[in-house]
């Protein structure tokens, strides 16, 4: 079977539209992000308590919210799992869990609920986790930048790294707009997306490298377009098969993996898109502003 035949699409010519699309989403996301403040982050990164609690008899979200609201514990949020009014994820400030459980105990009886999972992160620990995640991210970026500079050249490394930043910001934007929270697993997702995106980009760069060596010309727009078209069948096949795997994780992986797999899903779609439209286009525009002979 061979669905994707040889194509001849002018991807580079459509880059302006791609820039506009990406910028609109990212800017919208940043607006949402700055409006939400600390709500953007899970307890891992701002500190606080999170528990997964299950009641033996049904109650409902608004009742739980009322109870928490009357406790004077400051910030809290309640999210229902499933639809039977029994399972909830409750997030609140650090050191408030005893008070909440005490209130639940006197309201519903201490035998009427079980804590299925719980995490409690102090502000000092959340700072550590935040710094570690940031450090891991920066270290990863530098590693990628170095590797591509060695194997290709510096401009390619910049193109690939900017494409990764684009993907991160895009996913961040969608998470902010859909009101999801960033926790440690989302950082793992971000780094995977970085890996996937750069993988995709490198395959296209590899073909560009091959074609530049073959043609030795300087009509880079044509060389880039040809390279993208020649690798397009692989880009689509790999993109689709990994996206289907992530779709399975998203729909079947359960609540713990929900935000993780959602991030991967958006990230893989956007990672594929950015390899085709962003990473290469940046190199062309850079060349137009500041002509350069690619030496790969």
């Amino acid at each position: 079977m061979d669905i994707i035949k040889k194509t001849n699409i002018d991807f580079i010519g459509k880059r302006k539209a791609a820039y506009v699309f990406s910028l609109v989403i990212i800017l919208a996301g940043l607006v949402f992000f700055s409006m939400r403040g600390r709500q953007n982050f899970g307890v891992d990164f701002v500190g606080g308590e999170m528990m997964n609690i299950e009641f033996s008899t049904g109650t409902d979200v608004s009742e739980i919210r009322d109870i928490l609201g009357n406790l004077n514990i400051g910030y809290y949020s309640v999210q229902e799992l499933g639809e039977n009014g029994k399972s909830f994820i409750i997030k609140s400030g650090f050191g408030t869990i005893e008070k909440i459980l005490g209130e639940f105990g006197s309201r519903y009886g201490s035998e009427s609920f079980t804590i299925k999972g719980q995490s409690q992160v102090s502000p000092s620990m959340s700072t550590t986790l935040r710094n570690k995640a940031l450090f891991a991210f920066i270290a990863g970026m530098i590693g990628i930048l170095l590797y591509i500079t060695i194997r290709f050249e510096f401009r390619f490394a910049v193109g690939a790294t900017l494409a990764i930043f684009h993907d991160m910001l895009f996913v961040l934007a969608i998470l902010a707009i859909t009101r999801k929270q960033i926790d440690a697993t989302v950082i793992a997702a971000f780094l995977t997306i970085a890996g996937f995106s750069v993988n995709d980009t490198v395959v296209i760069f590899d073909r560009i490298r091959e074609n530049i060596r073959k043609h030795r010309g300087d009509d880079y727009t044509a060389v880039f377009n040809n390279s993208i078209n020649e690798t397009l069948s692989r880009t689509i096949l790999t993109g689709l098969s990994t996206i289907v795997v992530v779709l399975c994780l998203f729909f079947l992986g359960g609540e713990t993996l929900h935000v993780f797999s959602l991030s991967l899903l958006i990230g893989f779609i956007i990672g594929t898109y950015s390899s085709v439209f962003i990473a290469t286009s940046i190199l062309i525009d850079w060349h137009k502003v500041q002509p350069h002979k690619f030496n790969v």
């Binding site: 997964n52 299925k116 891991a136 270290a139 990863g140 692989r234 399975c248």
Partner: protein, 439 residues
């Protein structure tokens, strides 16, 4: 030429046998992380502002040993207790049955003091009205009410300077008092026994408060001089509480205040549902990829699937060998590895198709396909493994597990996609004359 191919096939079979042996049976060989089997993960921070880094680090070491003793007394399988930096202690208790109890026992400072209670009624009245005399402290005798909550009862005026502390305790265990209520029996060392004899001898008929972490747990009246180094702590304990207190006293007091700055508890049911859901998702993802490859590339698709299965086997076998911990994001990492395992083959096969379209013979197309796809495969996989290794080195918990599976998966991927499939294809096209490739 042929011998070289058979030799490669032998290597492949050897690898399969080795890794199957390594990871079978999976239930026993693969260690599951906290998120997959339930349990407790806490990070403790020693709070002692008085000291410099060096002595803070020493205090942390001592606290770690004490916490290790307490946990050993709890009887948890495979606890991990390690120091993080100079002032933090990480405790992992996978599969712990009662996380609340473990948290309580780990965190208790357990500063046990025996302090004299003032018998001057006038001083006492003044203290209650707010005028506490020098050298004394108003402490409350806390008792549990019927709902199990500690409540303040009558106040006691006790000396700030303890007569004796818990450091002379040789042993502590659960016992029962004359009325059959649980209490804690203490055995003191020689020095402690002498001290206790002196204190009790000098203060007959006075109350001696037993103060644990600043709370009066019991304030018995000294009836007579007590020699021999044996004492009891009574205080309306349940059997469970008395036993826990004995554990804490036996293991010794923490050398400083210790704050719990991170705590993660996963109940066993959540752990079970995480593992079933995670595995099911990974399974369906893998089934889709397998079917897709078989349909899209026919015989070569089956070959890619074989490579993917072998990839999975190496990954799990390697995890078992290095005793790596499988976490939920780790399962996601395995699913992704499957997706990326086929990518290398897609790169090769698409390249072979290109060469065929350019009019090359099947044999030449296969050689060119593998050769030309190689740079793309190595560069794309190595950039991804950079991310995997960094996650493993710098990440914690679940993220570390994810980085581990991703990195091993990529190494296995390079081996199966390039070495294994090439060896099999070479063997087939050398032994049989191929007119037309079914790809």
């Amino acid at each position: 030429m042929m011998r070289q191919y058979y030799y490669k096939i032998l290597v492949i079979i050897g690898v399969i046998v080795l890794f199957t042996f390594q990871f079978y049976p999976p239930g026993k060989k693969i260690k599951r992380g906290l998120d997959l089997q339930g349990g407790l993960h806490v990070v403790l921070e020693v709070a002692d502002a008085r000291t410099d880094d060096k002595s803070l680090s020493d205090i942390t070491d001592r606290a770690l040993e004490i916490i290790r003793n307490r946990i050993d007394a709890l009887g948890v399988a495979e606890p991990v207790i390690q120091k993080d930096g100079i002032d933090r202690i990480i405790v992992d208790l996978p599969g712990v049955g009662d996380p609340d109890k473990a948290i309580e026992i780990i965190g208790q400072t357990a500063l046990l003091e025996f302090r004299l209670v003032s018998d001057d009624a006038e001083l006492m009245n003044k203290a209650v009205s707010g005028d506490v005399p020098e050298g004394y402290q108003l402490l409350y005798h806390k008792e549990k009410d019927e709902r199990g909550i500690l409540r303040d009862t009558q106040p006691l005026l006790v000396k700030i300077e303890p007569e004796m502390t818990g450091k002379y305790i040789k042993d502590a265990y659960l016992g029962y008092d004359n009325s059959g209520f649980p209490d804690v029996n203490l055995e003191l060392d020689n020095e402690g026994a002498a001290l206790f004899e002196k204190v009790t001898g000098e203060n007959v008929n006075r109350q001696l408060a037993i103060v644990l972490d600043g709370v009066v747990r019991s304030a018995p009246v000294i009836r007579e001089r007590i020699g021999g180094g044996r004492a009891n702590i009574t205080g309306k304990f349940s059997v469970e509480e008395a036993r826990n207190l004995a554990i804490v006293l036996r293991a010794g007091a923490l050398p400083a205040k210790v704050d719990m700055i991170y705590r993660e508890v996963v109940g066993p049911t959540l752990g079970r549902s995480n593992i079933t859901q995670g595995l099911r998702a990974a399974l369906y993802g893998a089934i889709f990829v397998v079917l897709f490859m078989a349909v899209y590339y026919s015989v070569f698709g089956l070959l890619a699937n074989f490579a993917m299965a072998m990839n999975l086997l190496i990954l799990l076998g390697f995890m078992a060998t290095i005793k790596g911990v499988l976490t939920l994001p780790g399962i996601a990492g395995i699913a992704l590895t499957c997706g990326m395992a086929v990518d290398a083959n897609v790169l090769i096969y698409e390249r072979i198709r290109e060469e065929l379209r350019a009019g090359k013979s099947p044999r030449a197309s296969i050689d060119a396909g593998y050769k030309r796809a190689w740079t793309a495969i190595i560069d794309s996989n190595l950039t991804t493994i950079i991310v995997g290794i960094i996650l493993f080195l710098l990440g914690e918990g679940a993220i570390k597990g994810f980085g581990l599976t991703l990195s091993i998966g990529i190494v296995a991927n390079l081996f199966t996609a390039v070495f294994v499939t090439k060896a099999i294809v070479d063997l087939v096209i050398t032994t049989r004359k191929i007119e037309k490739l079914r790809i």
